[in-house]
Symmetry: C2
Subunit: 244 residues, 2 copies
C-alpha cells in the first residue's frame, strides 16, 4: 500500500492509520494552525509595540508615561530613568500594584527605585511587561529571573527558567542549583538537581562544590538527601519487580 502522506510503499507490519483517521488528523492540524494564527494576531494586538530587533539595542519609548523606574547597582554614577505606566506595571505585577495603589512613597513621588540591577536589565524587564518578549543570554536570564521573582511576574520567571534549563550542563549545574534555590525557581532547581544526580561521581572534585560547602552546606546536604532518596526508591522498585 502507498502512504498518502509520504507516498512511499509500506507493508502490513508498518501500518499506521486508515484514510478516515488520516483526514481527521489533517483537519485537526489545520484547525490548530488556524488557532495559532488567531492567537498570534491577538498577541500582536495586545502588546504595546513589536519586540526590538536583535541587532539594534533600541527599545521603544512609551508615551503618556506616569512613573519612572530608576536602576541602582550599576555602580557608575547617575541613574538613568526608565519611563513606564503605573497601569501596566500594576497589571503585570502584584508587588507593583500594591506599591502603587497604596499611597506609598513611590506612587506619590512618581519614582520607583530598583536596587541591585543594571540599567540594561531594568530596561529589558520593563520592555517585557509591554511585549512579553526579551532577548536572552545567560546573564540577562539571571538578572530578569531575579527581578521576576522579586516583583512576582510569573510569566517572565517561567520564560527565564525555560531558557536557563536549556543551557544547563554538568559544569554549570551546581551554580544553577544554588541560584535557583536562592530565587525560588522550582523548575530550574529540579532540572539542575536532576543533572547533578546523574553526575555524583564528579561532584566532590568540582570547584563549585567546594565553594558551596563553605557558603551553604545545608544546600549540599539537600543534594545528598535527594541522592540517597533516589537510591532507596530505585532499590525498592527493583525489589518489587523481582518479586512480581
Amino acid at each position: 500500500m502507498k502512504c498518502v502522506s509520504c507516498k512511499e510503499d509500506y507493508t502490513r507490519c508498518d501500518a499506521g492509520t486508515c484514510r478516515e483517521c488520516y483526514e481527521e488528523a489533517s483537519e485537526t492540524e489545520e484547525e490548530l494552525k488556524r488557532e495559532i494564527d488567531e492567537l498570534k494576531s491577538k498577541v500582536s494586538f495586545l502588546r504595546f509595540w513589536a519586540p526590538l530587533h536583535q541587532l539594534s539595542n533600541r527599545f521603544a519609548t512609551p508615551c503618556f508615561t506616569d512613573v519612572v523606574l530608576m536602576a541602582s547597582g550599576d555602580g557608575c554614577g547617575e541613574a538613568v530613568p526608565v519611563p513606564a505606566h503605573k497601569a501596566v506595571l500594576a497589571s503585570r505585577s502584584p508587588v507593583f500594584r500594591a506599591m502603587l495603589e497604596n499611597e506609598m512613597v513611590e506612587s506619590l513621588s512618581g519614582t520607583i527605585k530598583i536596587s541591585d540591577v543594571s540599567y540594561d536589565a531594568l530596561r529589558a524587564f520593563v520592555n517585557y511587561m509591554y511585549t512579553a518578549e526579551a532577548c536572552l543570554d545567560e546573564q540577562m536570564a539571571c538578572d530578569l529571573l531575579v527581578l521576576a521573582e522579586k516583583y512576582q511576574v510569573k510569566h517572565l520567571k517561567t520564560y527565564c527558567e525555560k531558557y536557563m534549563i536549556s543551557k544547563l550542563n554538568w559544569e554549570n549545574s551546581l551554580v544553577n542549583f544554588a541560584f535557583s534555590h536562592q530565587h525560588n525557581a522550582k523548575s530550574l532547581l529540579d532540572a539542575s538537581q536532576s543533572l547533578i544526580m546523574d553526575n555524583m561521581d564528579k561532584l566532590s572534585k568540582s570547584e563549585e562544590y567546594k565553594e558551596l560547602v563553605e557558603k551553604d552546606p545545608r544546600l549540599v546536604v539537600q543534594i545528598y538527601e535527594a541522592y540517597l532518596s533516589k537510591q532507596v526508591n530505585t532499590a525498592s522498585l527493583k525489589d518489587c519487580s523481582t518479586k512480581a
Copy 2:
C-alpha cells in the same frame, strides 16, 4: 490491518498513512498544542484583566487612568464617562494616537467625545482594547464594527466581521451588504454579495431590495454588475472545458 488511531480494521483501499508518518503527525500535533498553550499564556499576561463573565455585566475598573471617553448618542441625558489610558488607546488605534499625541482639544482636556454610540457599545469597545475580547450579539457586532472602522482598530474589525459573516443568511444579506459597504468591511461585503448571488431569483421581491433601490441605487447596480460578471465568467469557463 488495524488502524493505530481508531483501532478499527481496514483494507488496502482505505489505506491512510504508514506508521512513521502517523508518529510524525502525532508529534507535530503535540508541538502545535504546546505552541497554543504558550500563546494563550502570553495573551493572559498581556491583557489587562480577564474577559468579563458572560452573565455579569461588570467591566473591570482600570486604575491610574488619564483620559475619559464620553458616549453621546444614547439620547437619554448625562453622558457617563468611560475611564481609560492614553497609552492603551494610542497603541491600539492610530486615530487615537494622532488625536492624543498632537495637542488637540482631547489631549489637553482629558476628555474624548464619541458621537453616535451608546454607553454599552463604548464600554465594550474600550474593554476590547484592554483584553482583545468582546461579548457579541448582532447589535453589538455592528456597533463595534462602526467604532473599529472609525478608529482603525483592525483586530476588532476583523473580529466583528467574522461574527457577522457567521450570522449571514438570505434574509439579512442585503442589509449586511449595505452596512459593510458603508463601513468599508470588505470580508463581510464579499460574503454578503456571494450570498445574494446565490439568491438572485428572490432579490427583487424582497422589501430590503426596494428600500435599497430608493436609498442607494448605485449599490444595487453593483450587485447586478457582479452577477453579470459571474455569469460571463461561468460561460467562458464552460467554453474552455468544452473546447478542451
